[in-house]
């Protein structure tokens, strides 16, 4: 399966939902110290739904494209549904199978968001 397909490269070169959300109620940072990838995610949550989400990142094609594709897909979804997503769902959205090392790049954005959502939920 070709990882560097047109659609993935398009999301890498023109990521959707890129930038800050000014009045975000979630702002969280994630990184992958193994390759220096960094991401900041912003989100707005209301009535257990994620109704806005964005990110800013430095990283490889997989990490940027997956942030773009995954966030595009989960906008508007219920927080609990987002929290239950994992590696399989990310691979499904990207339509690639990734190895042990690259999967960490692909799930960085989702994991960072999930952690922040879980913490917010715990506080409430």
């Amino acid at each position: 399966m070709d990882i560097y397909r047109e659609i993935i490269l398009d999301h890498y070169k023109n990521p959707r939902n890129y930038g800050q959300i000014k009045d975000a109620d979630i702002k969280a940072q994630g990184d992958n110290p193994l390759c220096g990838d960094k991401i900041t995610v912003y989100a707005k949550v209301s009535e257990d739904r994620l109704y806005d989400v964005s990110f800013q990142a430095e990283g490889c094609v997989i990490s940027i494209a997956s942030a773009s594709i995954v966030f595009e897909n989960i906008k508007g979804k219920r927080v609990d549904d987002i929290l239950s997503m994992g590696r399989d769902e990310v691979e499904g959205l990207l339509r690639v199978k990734l190895g042990h090392n690259r999967i960490k790049c692909a799930v960085l954005a989702l994991k960072t968001l999930q952690q922040a959502l879980a913490e917010k939920k715990k506080k409430e």
């Binding site: 560097y4 490269l9 990838d37 094609v61």
Partner: protein, 403 residues
């Protein structure tokens, strides 16, 4: 080197493989694989214990590797300890000798270019015993900055230094360094990490006058699971055991235990018998090829790699380490345009080119260069100009896909 690929069975199944990651682990020649098989098929007994024939044979073959290893670096046989790998060899010295050597205020010196395995054990020892952890810098070209009169003080107890950097490829002038350092302080303990050196540089531990020298079988055509620790005899005798158990004991009573003399004192438990035995085939193979010829071949190939990469990509490729091929081995870490090293490595892999992407277990050095990660291509005896051509074409494809 000519016709050498035929000695490596991996190329029969995978003839298009462009393997540029010898720095991580080398490929294995047929003679090594056959000797490993020979042990497992014909005399797979434990060593030192059996009175029966195949155990005697295994023990003799195991000790024969020790003899060949000693000869390879001009050490005494009882100065060669088999461990699992370079990392374990360093940790052994750190634990068995370092712990009793370092007290509050004593200094340990390493360079910024060390692999984590020759950095973290010393850092942690310094933290635990209240010692001072001192770092030698490199300059922009990746050459060690030598200011020994300032660095080595009356309190400096240990110097741990790599012979060849696994990122930069820089060859440290170890012999001159040791003689300079010993002039300033004679009794400093010096450990040399030779993991990236021993497969292409002829080493004579007596001539170097290092106290310890460590390397791994698997980076020099041998099997995984075998590391070597050379230590001066008196220092090995003075050191604590590293692990307790079988094999390293001469007598056990309820009141006390008496340990074997070195090297067996440091070889608790059943070792990697077949792998140690097969390691001898790797050493013989290297001896037959002649390390001097290997070094010359790799210098020429390395010069060609550097010049070709620069000619093709100019300022868009930034190669870490010295530009002069005589100051380095054929290890090339680089950044390329602003592409992520993972993407470069993955696109190269699609063309069956194996390179390494990451920090190569040298995070302090990458931080020094202000890089999160780099791509590393390393060349060895089974590589040639065709592999270089494949790399160039591969990198052009990276540009095409990612720009």
């Amino acid at each position: 080197m000519k016709n050498i690929k035929k000695d490596f069975p991996i190329f029969e199944k995978n003839p298009g493989l462009v393997y540029l990651d010898t720095t991580a682990t080398s490929l294995k020649p047929r003679v090594v694989i056959e000797r490993l098989l020979d042990y497992y098929q014909n005399f797979s007994a434990n060593v030192f214990r059996g009175i029966y024939k195949i155990s005697e044979k295994a023990t003799a073959a195991f000790e024969h590797t020790r003899e060949i290893t000693a000869g390879f670096i001009n050490a005494g046989q009882d100065e060669i300890v088999f461990t699992r790998n370079t990392t374990e060899s360093i940790n052994l010295v750190c634990y068995a000798l370092g712990r009793k050597l370092i007290s509050k205020g004593d200094e340990i010196v390493v360079s910024i270019a060390e692999h984590h395995s020759n950095f973290v054990p010393w850092q942690q020892l310094a933290f635990e015993n209240g010692g001072v952890f001192k770092i030698l810098p490199v300059n922009e070209q990746g050459i060690l900055v030598q200011d020994w009169e300032k660095v080595i003080t009356a309190r400096t107890k240990i110097l741990a230094l790599t012979y060849v950097s696994n990122v930069l490829g820089t060859i440290n002038p170890i012999k001159e360094i040791i003689s300079t350092v010993r002039r300033i302080k004679k009794d400093i303990i010096i450990l040399i990490d030779a993991a990236q050196a021993v497969s292409s540089i002829k080493i004579d531990v007596k001539e170097l006058d290092c106290d310890f020298l460590v390397f791994s079988s698997h980076k020099m055509l041998g099997p995984t699971g075998v590391g070597v620790l050379y230590g001066k005899k008196d220092l090995l005798e003075e050191s604590f055991p590293f692990m307790y158990g079988g094999e390293m004991i001469s007598r056990v009573e309820i009141e006390q235990s008496i340990f074997q003399p070195p090297p067996h004192k440091f070889e608790a438990g059943t070792p990697a018998i077949g792998e140690v035995i097969a390691f001898s085939a790797a050493l013989e193979y290297l001896q037959k090829l002649d390390l001097k010829k290997i070094k010359r071949y790799l210098s020429d190939l390395g010069r060609s790699v550097f010049n070709t990469l620069k000619d093709e990509f100019g300022e868009n490729i930034k190669i870490l380490g010295p530009a002069d091929a005589d100051q380095k081995t054929s290890i090339f870490s680089f950044s390329f345009y602003n592409f992520h090293p993972h993407d470069i490595a993955q696109i190269l892999d699609e063309q069956n080119i194996a390179v390494r992407a990451g920090h190569h277990c040298a995070m302090p050095l990458h931080r020094f260069y202000n890089l999160g990660a780099s791509v590393r291509a390393s060349f060895y005896i089974y590589n040639d100009e065709n592999d270089l051509k494949a790399l160039i074409e591969g990198l052009k494809r990276v540009i095409k896909i990612l720009s």
